[in-house]
Symmetry: D2
Amino acid sequence: MIKAGIIGSTGYAGGELARLLLGHKDVEIKWYGSRSYIDQKYADVYRNFFELAEDVCRDDNLAQLAKEVDVIFTATPQGFLAGLLNEEILSQAKVIDLSADYRIKDVAVYEKWYGIGHKSPQFIREAVYGLCEINREQIRGARLVANPGCYPTCSTLSLYPAVKEGLIDPHTIIIDAKSGTSGAGRGAKVDNLYCEVNENIKAYGVTSHRHTPEIEEQLSYAAGENIMLNFTPHLVPMNRGILITAYASLKKQVSAADVKAVYDQYYKNEKFVRVLDAGVCPQTKWVEGSNYVDVGFAADARTNRLILMGAMDNLVKGAAGQAVQNMNLMFGLPESTGLELVPMFP
Amino acid sequence: MIKAGIIGSTGYAGGELARLLLGHKDVEIKWYGSRSYIDQKYADVYRNFFELAEDVCRDDNLAQLAKEVDVIFTATPQGFLAGLLNEEILSQAKVIDLSADYRIKDVAVYEKWYGIGHKSPQFIREAVYGLCEINREQIRGARLVANPGCYPTCSTLSLYPAVKEGLIDPHTIIIDAKSGTSGAGRGAKVDNLYCEVNENIKAYGVTSHRHTPEIEEQLSYAAGENIMLNFTPHLVPMNRGILITAYASLKKQVSAADVKAVYDQYYKNEKFVRVLDAGVCPQTKWVEGSNYVDVGFAADARTNRLILMGAMDNLVKGAAGQAVQNMNLMFGLPESTGLELVPMFP
Amino acid sequence: MIKAGIIGSTGYAGGELARLLLGHKDVEIKWYGSRSYIDQKYADVYRNFFELAEDVCRDDNLAQLAKEVDVIFTATPQGFLAGLLNEEILSQAKVIDLSADYRIKDVAVYEKWYGIGHKSPQFIREAVYGLCEINREQIRGARLVANPGCYPTCSTLSLYPAVKEGLIDPHTIIIDAKSGTSGAGRGAKVDNLYCEVNENIKAYGVTSHRHTPEIEEQLSYAAGENIMLNFTPHLVPMNRGILITAYASLKKQVSAADVKAVYDQYYKNEKFVRVLDAGVCPQTKWVEGSNYVDVGFAADARTNRLILMGAMDNLVKGAAGQAVQNMNLMFGLPESTGLELVPMFP
Amino acid sequence: MIKAGIIGSTGYAGGELARLLLGHKDVEIKWYGSRSYIDQKYADVYRNFFELAEDVCRDDNLAQLAKEVDVIFTATPQGFLAGLLNEEILSQAKVIDLSADYRIKDVAVYEKWYGIGHKSPQFIREAVYGLCEINREQIRGARLVANPGCYPTCSTLSLYPAVKEGLIDPHTIIIDAKSGTSGAGRGAKVDNLYCEVNENIKAYGVTSHRHTPEIEEQLSYAAGENIMLNFTPHLVPMNRGILITAYASLKKQVSAADVKAVYDQYYKNEKFVRVLDAGVCPQTKWVEGSNYVDVGFAADARTNRLILMGAMDNLVKGAAGQAVQNMNLMFGLPESTGLELVPMFP
């Protein structure tokens, strides 16, 4: 059994990690970390775990935790892990970080977009960007995995083949994203109250959302050159789900069948990426509760643009599920262990 | 492997059966029945099953189906199974009926509340009412199980110990129930359109809902006498979940601790009934996607009444999950096989 | 023009008051009070008022406010007004209090249920309970009106005629209530976050909700004797709306037509109470945004009980709309001025 | 009093027309047309009108209707009005058509995108496109107004000044739109059921939505040349509201202040277009129930693109409200009569 600890287990991503790890036959959760609920029963914070988890929440003692477990998941605010990580911890336990601390290779970019200094830049190079479908081999050997952001996961997987194969001009990419409200976290803020979110939709972080440079970096690797793009997230009145709708100019005339052939080639062996039939638009409800990303597309001959769409559950493939997928790779388990969840509809 | 067939697989309960059976290690779905979508790919009707189910929907041929499978689930309108069932079918396959056809022992009561004649009353006596927590032993040996209705499951499990132990006067029982909209089915009706249900709550079927006699029958067994009660369901703007709030006059002065002791005694070994701590009210979200029923209560010394509350997922414990639980019992499997789903929150 | 001031204008009830008063041809809002947003533009707090209200939020200076306006609305926490009210204020401005401070005539009952001492019990006797349909004449002459609570408004109007006319045994009353989330206020609490409320329903305040004694007092007047009842509120995933479903034993055999005749007699001249046709259940969406209460009922001959249902918008008839209705009466205006809003559907 | 008739009064746009016209002091509704509910009481179809509208639904007899009223609103399927309109009708009553029949000046474009032949192309030239803020003077004198589509209203008003003033390259425009579900109409379709829409988001009509050519035509007038653009609508789990997020390349370097200055110049006297302060993103909830369009923007110096956002209520400014605004202009009334509704929040 793999012994696992979760720092930040009482946030929504942390709770989803607990849900998935409790259903994972090779894992035992040894540490439910939560600064806000120290000494309270975990199942009193999230009563869905009543009679399923008997543990009490523990303070964030990363050094101690590293001694007790095989893998640490950090579902924590930006800067938290960067401020505490050291060689001793990494020599004792593998770390999968759900924050952005080690996702961006250029520390200056991180510091500019996140507005904080990076306390342990020495680990950035070592950290592997945990997008399993693209970096599978490096993840297997990693001590430190930077679990991708929710929007970057959906955006990168939806766009990667089109960029890599030169179907589209990467300098024309515009990503219009829509997310359920769990992505905003469990903090008690007026903006996230039921009555403020319900029956409402808005854009936020326009031109300034922190996931922009992360997406740009990943797609720049695919493009073989540095690219910039527009990324605009929107808050949607639903609990879970991310949908991205991306637009880019075609570099060559392609049919929907051509695009599908390219995507099938990239993803035919990828269990968690489902390339939809031509003409089918992904819906977030079709992947809810599961680790799937559904990808669809439409080519517009009139405007010579390609429209790419991707849907996933932000808490699963966009956070906890992908973290478990990374853990499986790091520990030599079948990649889908504990993730064979059929999406729940309705 | 148990071979299973689903009649009515494209309704919401049928889709949930498919979800659960696909995740059940000892079952193989051999027949996706659907009169409305014959010859269409099941995954084109419910795209959450894309790449997970390759089957095509088949017509409702119960006689043929019985030859091909070990167990038949009928998630069909009232009267459908009663019109087709015969000894030959029952001699070939076990049948778990999610409709009301064999739930009520008194055929006159069935015919009065459902407004249709019963075509095969000869099987009513044999049919076992599939509330596992109460009729476990009979279910093990059954050929025909009447899977309980959603409201009756939640109501009966919430009230049974209090009635059986004589804590409350069974003639004073009032059950005010609230259900998510999946309970209304997938039929294309104006009343179930998004804009009609959303931001709205209403009672329906007041004094006339068909689950009333089913609840009365089960609680009459507990009371040892015939009882009548009020049952009022409400439609709530959410996909899943049933909450019942029941009221009854106390027959003796009891504390919350007394009530909890009684309920613990009944349910301490029941995996799927969770008796909440005193003072904790159940919430439907805490059981979503799982087979649990959460039960809570409050004793009101002022009015000398007991308030009992129960929450469950209407599509799981209230339909497909309970059907699988029954199947497990009928085939000698551990009762929770395929049902070890942690509730999903949020 | 009536000059009006609102204390607590940035809560949901306060915002609704602003919406209604801005649409009232005889009123001018002179004071937007808000401790939390002092000196901020009101339209920056509630952007629906952009270009409609240019005012800046002011601190809670009741004494000063009384000098500047004709009527003060207090949409404030319990105890606030009781701690500040004095004869000088009441001699300068009429006061309509949306809190519970002066609703309950027995100060001991108030102090017990609210858990705070009452600082100005000398005004309790003078205060008029502002349920216009019942206390119209007293309201006309009042200086201080205790605007009824949301649940008590809906409950009392739904039950009053049945109790007063002796149709039901008042000692058997059980009220099961369901409310949209705006009733929980705009405070930043985890329990009211979108993801906690959405796709969820729960009871709360079981046996202990503070509106219980308020309802009991009003229905005791109708009964001519002291009564106690059960009142159980539930939180529903919708912004607005209250539905109450009430149960009581019939004292005489009545048909639905009999009940309707009684209710018509009480409400035939009441613009804001709509007695639905027999067999029609009220829905909250049919009254959204308006000052109507829709009342329906069903008599159950089997159990000898009457089921009464009432639906209204908790922020309008349950708070701000009723406050404006009271103001209209107090200032000699036609009672429906500014309240002629057609419900919005969908 | 203006006598008004509504064809299609039992659709959502028709119901909203009834709501607004009932609150309009100069209008009397004389005809509630509905093929589906002939001879049924209108208030039985939409019970929000209980005790407010006593009328019975009438069949679609346009010729007779024209004799009885001053203005006809047609909230009908595409092709309906085109198949019936004639000179006699237009000589008797003004017609405001909420369908697309007369919106597009090039009949070939209409026939291609709508897939039906146009039965009365002779009226296309006469019809005035009823976007009041742009075509105010022509509307005043019109007999036949083509009320703009919901998406085109929001898109055109959000983009018009930027295109007209040459801030952006009109050949780079991409409009990503999000709509509440009332835009899908009241037809009983599985896709619009509560459980299919709730907790879900999807794109639809990608590259093929019929509002595309309507937006292109209007913005081509602004650009002074023919343009093509991408328009992608999404279905959002909420009743009302449209948000559009539009992207285009800047033709010159501009600051947010520059853009705001341009928009203020166009809209400073427009009551129903509110140009938000720089940095504020519009939200659909801030305009719900009202006739406002809120417009915001962000200039991205990194990518040299302008992002324009517009929010409105699809049933009001996107349908019924704009129709009333057109009627007011056509009958010489103050433009905002009956439309002074403060948005409802929450």
